[in-house]
């Protein structure tokens, strides 16, 4: 027993355990379940039934078995490489997006610290700058897949994806400048703790969405564009370029692209929760001072999960609500509207902070 506690107190062992728990038991299952939920929820939005046929005996689990069926099908499908493709780049491309999505979870705290133990894989000083670096990496997945496939449609999709993702990264960063200024840090744990303060006594929590409402809308828009989902799905544009940059993929590598899209959705949701909706902090919980620690942690995990799932749902809802932007409209919206707005938001925040604090 003592040996176990001693082993558990080694930081490296703790980190590995956190990686296993947060990434393998939170991020990956969330992404996987979202692949099914997108289909079920979109069916509800469009008055359809959705997948419900996969079964074992008479058990269908309301379509839950489609997850297993899809996985098995992907594994047993042939992994084709088109003629003239750049083999190595073609084979590694699917995993860039996945790595980028999963790595986002590394700096997200899902509950408050207990003593020295934090519910966060690592709390690095650059914090959100790490996120910017990692999301830039996910562009490589689209670009490499597009260029190495030796297909015109894939190349077009890759070009569109790179242009869109790089330009939306610009004001994704600018939209967060306000957050950095308000909470005075890029470290995620400090931003989250900064949102635990209150305005007007204990009336309104100082969440990012209240301190930076415009920043929230800009950031959320930019992140949806980063995930290349509707209304910004011109890179995948089914109606004109079939499937865009991952057109030539099949089997498990195609699934990797789909899975990385949903992990990116989950990553967007956790980022929004962490930066704009108080992270794991349950509002007004500090008023109950005698709350036991285990209950507080449980409530924090629950609050974090609920808000995260809400934003996953919100993105799916938006996807099935809005029509697709044409590619030039995507770029015009980005550079002509969102960029000036995010600059104005940054300037306004700076002025307000200088004037009142």
């Amino acid at each position: 027993m003592e040996i176990i506690i001693e082993i558990l107190s080694i930081p490296l062992v703790q980190s590995i355990l956190k990686i296993v728990f947060i990434i393998l038991l939170f991020a990956m299952p969330l992404g996987t379940v979202l692949t099914l939920m997108e289909r079920k929820w979109s069916a509800m939005i469009q008055d359809r039934v959705g997948p419900n046929r996969a079964n074992i005996g008479n058990y269908t689990g309301h379509g839950l078995l489609h997850l297993a069926a899809d996985g098995l099908k992907s594994i047993f499908k042939e992994d084709t490489i088109p003629k003239g493709a750049n083999g190595f780049l073609y084979l590694i491309a699917p995993f860039f997006g996945m790595i980028a999505g999963v790595a986002t979870f590394a700096i997200i705290p899902i509950a408050g610290p207990i003593g020295d133990f934090t519910f966060q894989v690592t709390d690095i000083e650059p914090g959100l700058l790490f996120i910017f670096a990692i999301t830039s990496l996910s562009v490589y997945g689209a670009v490499l897949a597009g260029t190495s496939s030796n297909s015109k449609f894939a190349l077009l999709g890759g070009t569109r994806a790179s242009a869109q993702m790089i330009s939306y990264e610009v004001f994704m960063g600018l939209a967060l400048m306000g957050i950095f200024m308000v909470y005075g840090s890029t470290r995620v744990s400090e931003i989250v703790d900064g949102q635990n303060e209150y305005w007007f006594g204990n009336l309104i929590p100082m969440w990012g969405v209240f301190t930076q409402p415009l920043g929230f809308i800009l950031f959320f828009t930019a992140l949806i564009a980063e995930t290349k989902r509707a209304p910004f799905d011109a890179p995948e544009g089914e109606s004109e370029i079939v499937a865009g940059y991952f057109l030539e993929y099949s089997g498990m590598r195609w699934s990797a692209f789909m899975l990385s899209e949903y992990i990116a959705v989950a990553a967007v949701a956790v980022l929004t929760t962490t930066l704009f909706f108080g992270g794991y902090h349950v509002p007004w919980l500090h008023l109950w001072e005698s709350a036991p620690q285990w209950l507080v942690t449980l409530l924090q995990v629950m609050k974090f999960s609920i808000v995260t799932i809400f934003f996953c749902w919100m993105q799916i809802q938006l996807r099935w609500t809005l029509p697709k932007f044409r590619f030039d409209q995507t770029m015009a919206l980005g550079w002509k509207k969102l960029l000036p707005l995010s600059l104005a938001n940054t300037a306004l925040t700076a002025v307000v902070i200088l004037a009142f604090m």
């Binding site: 929820w41 069916a43 509800m44 939005i45 469009q46 008055d47 359809r48 039934v49 419900n52 809308i217 809802q317 938006l318 099935w320 609500t321 809005l322 919206l333 509207k337």
Partner: protein, 194 residues
């Protein structure tokens, strides 16, 4: 003729330029549908086919059936009316001598090639004895072999599965009871013999 062009006025302005009011307008609609269907599939019109079947009209023409008299013999007198009227030539009858001398003929063979049949219902209309009917309520026939679609006399007469009879013609109480299968086969009115 002069063509008239109707010009639809574009809606411009601040509200359109910012997308957000329109986005919320759209979200209101989709969220409404989402929650209505989440709480009980109210708007879904899909029929889950193999489990649920769509209600069939009284006049719906399904697979053929050869009706019987109360003594169990076929009503058919092998008059060749249906074979003659059949536009797709899918009925093949060979007449035989009936053991009851008061009845002239009975069908020794009565084959219907269901793959050729166009389900026009003319055979039912032509029959003077109401011996052939199309009220079995068999909606879909799907077999893996072509030969399976050649329905012989005994198949048409005896393959009587109550589960297949979801036609409104048969209410539950009209269906034959398992304990009296000898006498329970339906007569021409679809009512089991007493």
């Amino acid at each position: 003729m002069e063509l008239k062009v109707k010009q639809v006025k574009r809606v411009d302005g601040v509200k359109e330029a910012f997308y957000i009011p329109a986005t919320f307008g759209g979200l209101r609609l989709t969220v409404k549908h989402f929650f209505r269907n989440l709480l009980g599939s109210k708007d879904v019109v899909t029929i889950n086919y193999p489990e649920e079947k769509r209600p069939i009209s009284m006049r719906w023409r399904g697979r053929h059936r050869l009706t019987r008299k109360n003594d169990g013999f076929l009503k058919c007198v092998a008059c060749y009316m249906c074979e003659t009227v059949c536009p797709s030539k899918c009925i093949h009858i060979e007449a035989g001598e009936h053991p009851d001398l008061s009845i002239e003929k009975y069908p020794f063979r009565f084959d219907i090639d269901e793959l050729r049949c166009v389900f026009c219902g003319l055979c039912v209309e032509a029959c003077p004895k109401e011996a052939i009917r199309m009220d079995t309520g068999v909606v879909a026939m799907a077999y893996s072999s072509r030969k399976t679609f050649d329905f012989t006399r005994d198949l048409l007469r005896d393959e009587y599965d109550p589960k297949q009879h979801e036609s409104p013609k048969y209410a539950d109480e009209d269906l034959p009871r398992p304990d009296s299968s000898e006498t329970a086969l339906p007569n021409s009115q679809g009512i089991p013999a007493a």
